[in-house]
Each structure stands twice: as C-alpha cells, then as structure tokens.
C-alpha cells in the first residue's frame, strides 16, 4: 500500500491546522482542545471530503466552524501564561525585532473576528482567496477588502509608524490612529 491513508494526509496538515488554531484562540491549551475536537469531527465526516480537493481547506472549515460554535466565547476568557505566545520572544522581522510574538497576537486579537479569520486563512493556512471566500460564505471581493482592512488595522495596532514615516506625508493608518485618538 503506497498511497497515504486519510490519517497520513491529515498528519501532514497538522502544522498548519494547529498554527491556525493557536492564532485564532490566542492560547495553546484552548487551541489544542479545538484541534482535537476538529479532528474527531473531521474523521466522523470523512465521507463529506471530496477527493482531489484541498484537504487543508476542508479541515480549516471544520475547525473554524467548531471555533465559532463553541470556542470563541471561551477564548475571550482564557489567559494563557504557560505558552509561547505569553513569552517575550522577539519576532525575527529585521528592524522591528523589538516586537514579540505576544505583541503580534495581542494586535491580532483586537481585529474584528471576520477580519482576523481571513488574515489567518490566507497568512497561516495559505488558502486561496477563493477557498477563504467559500469557507466564510462571502464574495471574493469581500475577502480582499477584509484582508486590506485587517492589514491596515494590524499595522495600526502594532504601532508600525516610525518617526521617519511621520516626517513624510501621513499615511492612512496614521490618520486613522489620529482620528481614533480624537486628534482630527
């Protein structure tokens, strides 16, 4: 038997699935419960997976629906202290190395859920716009506009406005930040 079993194929998707869950929940322990639930569901609905379609997109669909139906409320209550996100690990992002993974997670958690999930589907699960659109039940144009908003907001929450940026013309997020703080 040379063909990968269904289980083997799922194992190959685990890094993406778990990363997506961690980011969505903002907590390792909650994410692991979520992944476990999603795997059991996936297995019991294995018949609904259409061969030759993207298994990762199918798994993300199950995980995402499980999250919104029974985890989202909990994720707002849980504060993990024993996980990587809580540690001050610098992001390897060049000059922005002062930022930590926890900073990025905090900024992500401030996004509207419908913006955050799109960003994670594209950025972490590496799904296509088409797949993200289908999972969320929206048009591709909506996926693109949510992605733009998510990026703009994330940059704003991360405070990606260096003094050299402010010397030049104010950017959209710059203005947005000022508007929010009541300066305009």
């Amino acid at each position: 038997m040379t063909e990968d079993s269904f289980g083997d194929q799922i194992v190959a998707q685990m890094p993406y699935l778990r990363a997506f869950a961690i980011s969505l929940c903002g907590s390792h322990s909650l994410a692991d419960d979520l992944v476990q639930d999603a795997l059991v569901k996936a297995w019991s609905h294995a018949d609904s997976f259409r061969p030759n379609t993207n298994l990762r997109a199918w798994l993300v669909t199950i995980l995402r629906n499980t999250y919104f139906s029974s985890y989202r409320k909990r994720s707002r209550e849980v504060q993990d202290s024993d996980n990587l996100l809580a540690q001050q690990i610098p992001v390897k992002g060049g000059q922005e190395s002062a930022l930590t993974l926890a900073d990025v997670q905090t900024a992500l958690d401030k996004l509207a859920p419908e913006h955050k999930e799109i960003l994670l589907m594209i950025g972490i699960a590496e799904l296509s716009y088409e797949e993200a659109a289908e999972i969320c039940g929206v048009a591709i144009g909506t996926v693109k506009s949510r992605l733009n908003r998510a990026r703009a907001k994330l940059a704003e929450h991360l405070g990606l406005l260096t003094s050299s940026d402010i010397d030049t013309e104010p950017t959209v997020s710059d203005l947005a930040a000022r508007r929010q703080s009541g300066a305009i």
């Binding site: 795997l39 922005e96 950025g123 048009a139 990026r151 703009a152 997020s173």
Partner: protein, 84 residues
C-alpha cells in the same frame, strides 16, 4: 482540430461554469467610507507588516506537534479499521 468546443451548436450556453458563484457584484459594500481602511497601506509600513506577520506565521507553523495528536489520529484510524 475537429474537437473544438461546441461553439457551432448554437444552443444556449449552459456549461458548468454557470454554477460558479457570481462574485462580480456580490462584494460587500460596507457602509461608512468603505474605502477608508481598505486603501493600500504605505509601502514602507506594508513591508514592515509583511516581515513581522510572516515571522509570526512561520514561528507558529514550525512549532512541534504534540504526540497526543498522532496518537489520536492513530486511534481514529484503528477504530475505523475495526468497523470494516
């Protein structure tokens, strides 16, 4: 090349593509300055954000998968084999 698409049969075009969702006009038009936040970021900030977010994603993707998941999947697979 006699095997061209059936353009010659001048029947109504009813290929399977018609069941692809129509996305052209289905976009969400959120009220209140739809473009206010949708405008492309300043390229410098965009690049910074790209690096930071990329690093975050890669870190998460490369985290080791706890053994309990491989154990769980093996159990699920074994259970299914029993059923057969």
């Amino acid at each position: 090349m006699s095997q061209r698409e059936n353009h010659d049969n001048d029947g109504p075009i009813r290929d399977t593509e018609s069941d692809m969702h129509s996305t052209a006009d289905g976009s969400e038009n959120e009220p209140n300055g739809a473009n206010a936040d949708g405008v492309a970021l300043d390229p410098k900030i965009q690049a910074q954000l790209g690096r930071v977010f990329q690093a975050y994603c890669e870190d998460l993707i490369h985290q080791p998968i706890p053994d309990k998941f491989t154990v769980l999947l093996a159990k699920l697979e074994a259970k299914q084999r029993e059923k057969k």
